[in-house]
Symmetry: C3
Subunit: 497 residues, 3 copies
């Protein structure tokens, strides 16, 4: 398993080729939407738009910025919880997302924004591209620490492609609704990532176990990610909803669902610990499950208490998943899910899909008003004979489709990534930044004040003792046993003779 | 004082019961406001609203997101300055705020948004709920490190209740104005928290003193909180103001006041240190005092230089408070104020209330225009015979009311929290995460490169020395004296015989 | 070079005097713009403005908040990468920016917002003030670790003054366009800072070299800065553009350019390392170069692929600059550029100026529409006979002007800062927080669990060994050689006799 992890030749070539392809395809295909084009001036006149504020930019841009923060800061820092993998967590997430958004603009553009031979680009597209990439960030969580940046770029390329196909079928052919992406983003992203990590199973991964945990400060860095995801999730679920009440309602529902998740996560985290202590892993992750679970139904008339109930159960199931399901998946099904995305995105994503289907199926003109229900679900035109039951069914088909695409796609991509050419690390070098990053090995002087030495040791020299410790671990990693203890056993022979 | 800190039974039950109550009450009482309801479509028609952009969502949502970031990221990280209490600071703040916003939506809803038997929910309510919870986050600062999450939930429950009552009397009965909450949020929150911590006085707290300070990295984490509070404070003070000029002006005034605070904080921090050095505690906190001090008057015609003057003095008084008043309060009045909220929220809150009263009392039609002054202070209707002097008086009554509510409420809640059933930690275990959190004790290998060992020690073995150190402290805490030094005194007897 | 670094007298006086001057000048000059004044009510009536949403606040405030986050959180944390200079990086950035925005409001106000004897203040001014201060934050990067807060305040005072003059000539006299400030902010800021650091050359700076590098956690703190700069840069470049399509387009172009920078930065970072490893310095900085490079042209019809191409090359040149140019500048030209601002702001700023000129020169009515091109470049009125070529030339003059102002201004300010009265640190004490900050020296107990000691050392005592290490380095710094190793050589004489 000792593949060559030197990416000097491969990674630069891959990045440059991908980026050149992006430039060429953008040159051929992508143009500004009329709302971002200098001709908007004419459009305004033609359509008799009274004010610049009607430019879509002002409806969507604040939400876009929140989503953008979630993808790059939120997901990036959430994955810094590992003690020696912070650079990779935040850096590789940065890399894959920066590539993914470009490819997503093209893929989604061809499917959804293609007008007269060109993809037209506006603030809507970049929200959708960030959404698409969020599913790659989710999948990254499953393989975190075990794949090379090359593999992540390849995975992102395929995943974005599959995402766009799945999304097109789900939204445009099956006509399901999925504002917050419970199905297209979370369910698809999670099961895709889990399938990939299942194919990439590493049977000697326990050789890296000592690095597969957090340290005190890394858990605080991860909380930065958690909190930015949590506070901006209402923007995530509402960013692409219809103007007005739908966007408004989606934000409110998400706000409530997330709040409920926090309390139930704390409750379950405490109850499953023998001394009632909380676990940072649960707080960092399961508190977000309410946002995932309410994704599809957020813009629907879920009712405020409905949103609370969704968050209530998502927090519980997600925390239980971390405690009981993840160990089972790893030991029995050989699914090594580093971040526990099955618990944060998989289960709550499925719940979200089902909640969406039920909400749609039980939506009624009493609640929405007759034009309201037509407007909300796009009934009308060729969809004029649709009923709410049909909408509910279509939601379920969307969910099953997302699962199927994730599994099939994940298997194929998994086998591609299994090829021993991508510079992946050996089992004993997983979860370690220094495989792919220049980590400064300079000595971090730990200064021991003179007086302390004086007081307690007559043997110590009178000058301050400097404990020179490398601030970083190195590869080959520290031999786990037997470590030589702080006080090196002094061979008595060496002393007395 | 060695109470049982195992919360396994109590915390989960409390969380679950509270959350179930929330679900039930939301089910009975809370509905979407028409602007977030699928019927908005009809409302738009009926009221002849020309554009979706007139939905309150677009006026308020960006400000809401900033406020949300302040409550969860800002307050959460600001309190991570303690060396061993980062998990609790950010985690318990998360918990209490997530519960508090739900309860605040109900309490404030009954008082302010009750229409035809239901509380109507829109973006306004969630801004107000975040405001309300901000006062709980303030109070948490006083008791940080000394209370259990159970106590925090109980405290939040009562504080939110009292907040809503106080706010209702202040805004609706006394008819005071308080856009940025100098009185309702900061003064009330601070003196409530201080009263609680006074009742909860721990006379042996010095046994935990060694953990009641920062380390290098924890101070940087706290600066994340400071800066997010600082940059978003203009949104905080303007989020609930009237549309247009009032919201605009509130943001500008706050921006200016905060800038002035920074300079005077630096000045005073340097002048009171014998070597002129700056203290991170001051920079983390007193720089924010300008935002508190300008809270009430931010939306009034305070003038730009007026805002600077408020910030100028708030920075000075706040920093002096940290240096001289806090030690006095602790030693003489037995008020153990962990974060110094008296200096950041107490004093500047009172200043803010007074500034608001003076600004209101000296407001004139010359400045506001006749309709402007009526619009700004809501004169008109039954308030048509009000004068600006009466408004000034009403502001002062509001301030006194907030203080009175805080003191009385704080005493009652303090005694409730004093009951020995909430799982509070012993005096010697305060400021320590591992009481309530699973803190990984796994060994953090500090690797000592071979060559270093070779060079300086002829006794060391030739293999790298691994200094195995737990990355976390544990309970019972490390005995402060006499620590066994790095080089354990070697009993010579053991060696020579 | 051992100047007195005790700022107790000087820093407070400077801060207080500057702040008092600000208050007085604001009192004399600054008033609310009509959109932030209580009279807006009348203005709305007079101008027949139908809705509050037409208040400039709603067009600009969300972008302002993003820019504000970039200046205080982004630049502040980006500079925390040094192991022992995090307090100063984030704290001094806070101080200089808080002063700078006030002075910028005045300077820019006199030039651009002066009406009837007063500067009128609205959300536009505070965006511009933040822009202006961003150039000071850039310059701070060059001198980071080597100057006192006194020097930074003086530098900011002069730099803001020069910025405003340069900007006025560039925008109003030369009539160049510079929405995202490639020239006025980045080129000017970078070369100003580089000139200052060139004048302040420290020939014995290698005495502080051991602190002029990062440690693991400091690199993660710096990534907070990087990511907040990166995600909000689209707001930065679009914040001051015309309403509607220009603002929309500026955001899109910047989004694309930044994405391309990330891939080319990773490519070059890997290719120049002998083992193909990535360097955090490149990822932290060069990934942002696309935002700088697209600054001037962002609001123009650059085309989406044009934006990608700009980002593509900016990422490459910036990374190469870090690898090859910075060492050259330091060794040959005596330019000690701590953060490598030449690579992040200097080169990409010049590229941005040129791209802007070319884009303007090749703009055509085919692309913009006839009224579009007039609207975009302000042709019309006395500028009615301008051609696009003239606009291109004017852009180049603007770039040259910015460079000239930076060099001349930097030399003058550099010599002022060279005076030995500002409390600068000695060469051996650079990059060290404890010169200006109270850094807690309390002992950070590293606990070594009992069982570990038992297992591996028969000599150790049975009580836990506490390795007391100061959590901070101190001054005088740790003697670099020869450090006494962990295992102090035990004089055998002391044991056997």
């Amino acid at each position: 398993m000792a593949w060559n992890t030197n990416l000097r030749g491969r990674l630069p070539i891959t990045c440059l080729i991908l980026q050149v392809i992006m430039v060429v395809l953008f040159g051929v295909f992508v143009r500004y939407d009329i709302q971002a084009d200098a001709h908007w001036w004419l459009e305004k006149k033609r359509k008799n738009i009274s004010s610049d504020v009607e430019n879509e930019f002002y409806y969507r841009y604040p939400s876009f910025q929140d989503v953008h923060a979630m993808v790059f800061v939120g997901f990036g820092f959430l994955m810094t919880f590992l003690q020696r993998y912070g650079f990779s967590a935040v850096g590789f997430n940065f890399l894959l997302a920066a590539f993914g958004i470009q490819w997503a603009l093209l893929m989604q553009g061809w499917f959804h924004y293609f007008e007269e031979g060109h993809i037209v680009l506006s603030v809507e597209n970049i929200i959708q591209a960030d959404f698409c990439v969020a599913s790659s960030c989710v999948a990254f969580g499953a393989v975190l620490g075990k794949v090379s940046p090359m593999q992540l770029l390849i995975m992102t390329f395929f995943q974005v492609t599959l995402f766009a196909v799945n999304e097109f079928i789900l939204l445009n052919l099956i006509e399901a609704k999925d504002a917050g992406g419970s199905m297209t983003i979370h369910t698809f992203g999670a099961y895709f990532g889990l399938t990939v990590t299942w194919i990439l199973y590493r049977k000697n991964l326990e050789q890296s176990k000592q690095r597969q945990s957090s340290v005190y400060h890394s858990d605080l860095f991860a909380m930065i990610g958690t909190l930015f995801l949590w506070i901006y999730w209402p923007s995530f679920n509402s960013a692409s909803s219809f103007h007005g009440d739908a966007q408004h309602r989606a934000a409110l529902n998400t706000y409530l669902s997330l709040a409920a998740s926090v309390l139930t996560t704390v409750a379950v985290s405490s109850i499953i610990h023998k001394k009632g202590k909380l676990d940072m892993v649960h707080i960092q992750n399961a508190t977000l499950a309410g946002g995932v679970g309410v994704g599809t139904a957020a813009e629907m008339m879920l009712t405020p208490y409905g949103a609370l109930i969704v968050g209530f159960f998502c927090g519980i199931f997600s925390t239980l998943g971390f405690a009981y399901l993840s160990p089972f998946l790893e030991s029995r099904l050989r699914i090594q899910d580093t971040c526990g995305i099955h618990n944060l995105h998989g289960i709550p994503g499925i719940i979200g899909g089902i909640v969406g289907a039920v909400t749609a199926a039980y939506s009624s003109p009493d609640v929405y008003g007759e034009p309201g229900i037509v407007h909300s679900f796009g009934f009308g035109g060729y969809k004029s004979d649709w009923t709410k039951r049909m909408q509910g069914k279509s939601q379920i088909f969307g969910l099953l489709l997302s699962l199927a695409m994730a599994l099939v796609g994940g298997i194929i991509v998994g086998f591609i990534l299994k090829l021993p050419v991508w510079g992946q690390a050996a089992d004993e070098n997983c979860f370690e930044d220094s495989v792919y990053w220049e980590v400064h090995e300079e000595v971090n002087a730990v200064y021991i004040p003179e007086n302390l030495v004086h007081k307690h040791s007559t043997l110590a020299s009178t000058m301050p003792v400097v404990l020179s410790t490398a601030s970083t671990s190195i590869i080959p990693p520290v031999p786990p046993t037997p470590p030589v203890s702080l006080v090196t056993p002094v061979p008595s022979a060496a002393l007395v003779h």
